[in-house]
Symmetry: C2
Subunit: 112 residues, 2 copies
């Protein structure tokens, strides 16, 4: 675990935000700033169990290499966990990342 | 109000997600995928009252035109509200957008 970019994020509602935290938070949003990645995260969230990469390309409507590229980005930023099972990789949401993402995007405490 | 992009977003954890909803959700994240915009939203959230554009360029460390460009993007996507007071514009978080952003990024119900 850790040294993932998501660990460096700070909530949008943080009392103070360093330049590094703002950059990490922006990177996290950037990882999700793509319709295919939004769909991939949605499909994995809906499955509620690890999803084989081989089951994502059809619903997302993209080739296997393109889906793999998006999966790698989501793993790199720390949102997804990758588990190798034989020839295929399976992907699931990282529980700590789910908490972090919700905290980062929550402005309700300070608004409006 | 309304016809804002943010109104078309669907949560990452939605049971089904149309191509249009995935695109709108990705656009919302894209609006926040920039360190300057993260800082601007953070400063406005911390202020808890409308903030003059003229008070943002110094803490963000960017020129007034650049800050205005970022503010326009955040208004266009529906996160901020713009109010003209004399020669200056004041910006605040839109309450419905705050709720929507928190809902969009919340995967806790389905994870892990």
């Amino acid at each position: 675990m850790s040294n993932m970019l998501i660990d460096c994020c700070a909530p949008l509602a943080a009392e103070t935000l360093s330049a590094e935290e703002a950059a990490a938070t922006a990177e996290l949003f950037k990882a999700l700033a793509d319709p295919a990645r939004v769909r991939i995260v949605n499909l994995i969230a809906s499955a509620r169990e690890p999803v084989c990469a081989c089951h994502l390309n059809e619903p997302v409507g993209l080739s296997q290499p393109t889906v793999s590229h998006h999966l790698k980005k989501l793993v790199d930023v720390g949102l997804l966990e990758r588990e190798q099972r034989g020839k295929w990789a399976y992907f699931s949401l990282r529980a700590d990342a789910v908490d972090k993402l919700a905290a980062v995007a929550d402005l309700k405490g300070v608004c409006c």
